[in-house]
């Protein structure tokens, strides 16, 4: 018997786990860069160049759009491609696979949303534009000062990613991947609505004091539970077609419609509640109405302040 004389390429002394992580990240990046980079470009253009997304609600919408496809793809890339058996038979453990994909997937989700929130919240794009554009053709964009929306813009996509990732990574077929991903979204939505209902009940206004912590709390819980199942998961050895009988899909649609309907009803129940900012605005208006206005100087004449009800003064001369 002979052995091959060529140089052995070592993975590093003592089993360098960082090298393994790098290998996994390299594969995941290669597989997902076609999704991450265009999304990054949209984010970059939408916030920094053409400020169409100049509101935390847009950051929230963008984050959810990213999660919708990204979390499923990161979680179930092997099941969808039929390569799970190949992957599970390689040296990296299931724990390493789960955590590496989580690192890249959740990392990019949090990075996109947090950077978006920071940019909008600190008004960075307008500051940047103001450095070299002072044409006067456009007025400044209003900056949202609703802290709850900023909080939700980070917490909701993060929690949704965690729920979708946890459930989809433990699916064994393409059909269950899709169903589990949708269930993950519903779960995150249910936590959000539950939080909003609690806020409406406790404070008579929406302030994010329950919904945002609840979303942030469910994130590690979902990921931990998903991890517990994933490390014991059995690999499938071929791509499975999207299956299920027509009757089963009808039932799925019925359940989804009912759940979404219930969630919408719940949202309607809380939608008339004022937010913190609305409440502050209302209080300011009331205070302004109740207090007598200070006298205003116009030219050399001193005129009394107009009544707070915004009607013209009695003389109808408007202080001229």
């Amino acid at each position: 018997m002979t052995t091959h004389d060529e140089t052995l390429v070592s993975a590093g002394p003592g089993g360098n786990e960082w090298r393994v992580t790098r290998g996994l990240l390299w594969l995941d990046w290669l597989r997902m860069c076609g999704y991450i980079l265009p999304m990054f470009a949209i984010w970059l253009v939408g916030i920094w160049v053409v400020p169409v997304f100049y509101h935390p609600a847009w950051v929230l919408a963008f984050g959810m759009m990213y999660v919708l496809v990204g979390a499923t793809a990161f979680a179930a890339m092997d099941v969808m491609g039929g390569s799970e058996e190949f992957t599970f038979a390689l040296p990296p453990t299931r724990a390493q696979l789960y955590l590496t994909r989580l690192l890249l997937g959740l990392g990019t989700t949090v990075a996109f949303t947090a950077l978006g929130v920071l940019a909008v919240g600190l008004d960075l794009p307008q500051m940047l534009w103001g450095l070299f554009v002072n044409s006067g053709f456009t007025g400044p964009f209003p900056v949202c000062d609703e802290p709850m929306v900023y909080g939700l813009a980070i917490a909701l996509p993060t929690a949704a990613f965690a729920c979708v990732y946890s459930l989809a990574s433990n699916a064994g077929t393409r059909t269950t991947v899709m169903l589990n991903a949708f269930a993950g979204l519903l779960l995150a939505g249910a936590v959000l609505i539950g939080g909003l209902l609690a806020e409406a009940g406790l404070w008579d206004r929406l302030n994010g004091y329950v919904s945002i912590p609840a979303l942030l709390a469910i994130t590690p819980m979902a990921l931990l539970i998903g991890y517990g199942f994933y490390v014991r998961k059995e690999g499938i050895n071929r791509p499975t077609p999207v299956g299920g009988s027509r009757a089963s899909w009808v039932w799925v649609v019925i359940v989804v419609v009912v759940v979404v309907f219930i969630m919408l009803l719940s949202l309607l129940r809380v939608s008339h509640r004022p937010t913190v900012r609305d409440e502050e605005f209302r209080l300011e208006r009331e205070a302004a109405r109740d207090l007598p206005r200070p006298a205003t100087e116009v030219g050399t004449a001193t005129v009394p302040a107009r009544p707070a009800d915004n009607t013209t003064n009695e003389s109808g001369e408007d202080g001229k």
Partner: protein
């Protein structure tokens, strides 16, 4: 006692729906041997191997490769084996080069030059996407990846399944050649194509209904299993006549034909001594042996009474 490279004790696996794939199986493969696992479709070979490599979780019992449970082992232990399966789906969007680069991160003994060498010998385009390759080429890529990892244990689950005879022959030739070069590597090779097994294995395990029913040296198995024909003059055989070592037998008039498992032909001397009896002994190839033992007429007889 020689260390076992692969070991299974009382291993069981039942799939949802109550399908018992592996049922209290015991297996022991010595280090450095080439063990051929043979059995009919559905005998449980693939499930056994998938439990050994940690892809499936056993319901009961223990499956160990190099003394470790691969489902719970760390990366350093897991890099000591490589696996090629009959239905293995590689990442179809990657080139051979990219796959080799990817796997090189996980194996401390990854041999990049050997991988390139094998790609040349297998006629594989280094920069071609795996998904664009034929089924035979994809199997060769799987084998290439497994061998370039320089594993201590290699598990091949019907690597040539689904290939045409020529492609299968080529692949098996390559595998035999590579196994010959891999010093000290333990190989578990599963197939239901017996001619492949005869060319590779030094030890054979026969699997039926989730259990290993016999496990022995290939030459011993072939030399000990024979077809014996006993022809009686005139009338048929006596009512209680049995050829020693019979696994199964058939009587047609004065002729008794049996598949027997005997250590030595001298065990037939008692039959030869019967007056007016003619005894013919035929050697059986492994394929004939398998068909005799597992053919429709013999279903279960070997498993119930003929095990060694």
């Amino acid at each position: 006692m020689i260390d076992a490279a692969i070991e299974a004790n009382d291993l069981s696996k039942t799939f949802p729906g109550g399908v018992v794939a592996v049922n209290g199986l015991d297996l022991r493969v010595e280090k450095g041997s080439v063990y051929g696992l043979i059995g009919r479709n559905g005998a449980g070979k693939t499930t056994l191997i998938r439990m050994l490599v940690g892809v499936l979780r056993p319901d009961g019992g223990v499956a160990r490769v190099l003394g470790a449970d691969m489902l719970r082992s760390d990366r350093r232990t897991r890099q000591r084996f490589a696996y090629v399966s009959q239905t293995q789906q590689l990442h179809a969007w990657m080139t051979v080069e990219e796959l080799c680069h990817y796997l090189s991160h996980f194996y401390e003994k990854w041999d990049a030059a050997y991988a390139r060498d094998l790609a040349g010998r297998f006629g594989l385009a280094w920069d071609r996407q795996v998904g664009l390759m034929s089924g035979g080429e994809q199997r060769k890529v799987s084998v290439l990846l497994a061998f370039a990892a320089r594993p201590e244990v290699l598990l091949l689950d019907e690597p040539a399944a689904g290939l045409d005879p020529i492609a299968r022959r080529e692949l098996i030739d390559e595998i035999i050649d590579v196994i010959g070069r891999a010093e000290g590597c333990t190989v578990l090779f599963s197939t239901h194509i017996i001619s492949d097994l005869e060319r590779i294995a030094d030890t054979v395990g026969i699997m039926d209904r989730g259990r290993i029913i016999t496990s022995q040296n290939l030459d011993d198995l072939k030399s000990r299993t024979k077809r014996v024909q006993v022809v009686f003059d005139g009338e048929g055989p006596p009512r209680d006549f049995v050829i020693p070592g019979t696994v199964r037998s058939k009587t047609e008039g004065p002729v008794v034909t049996a598949v027997v498992r005997i250590d030595d032909e001298s065990q037939l001397d008692a039959v030869r001594a019967i007056p007016g009896v003619r005894v013919n002994v035929f050697a059986l190839g492994l394929e004939e042996t398998f068909i005799e033992l597992f053919g429709p007429a013999s279903r279960g007889e070997f498993a119930n009474g003929g095990t060694s």
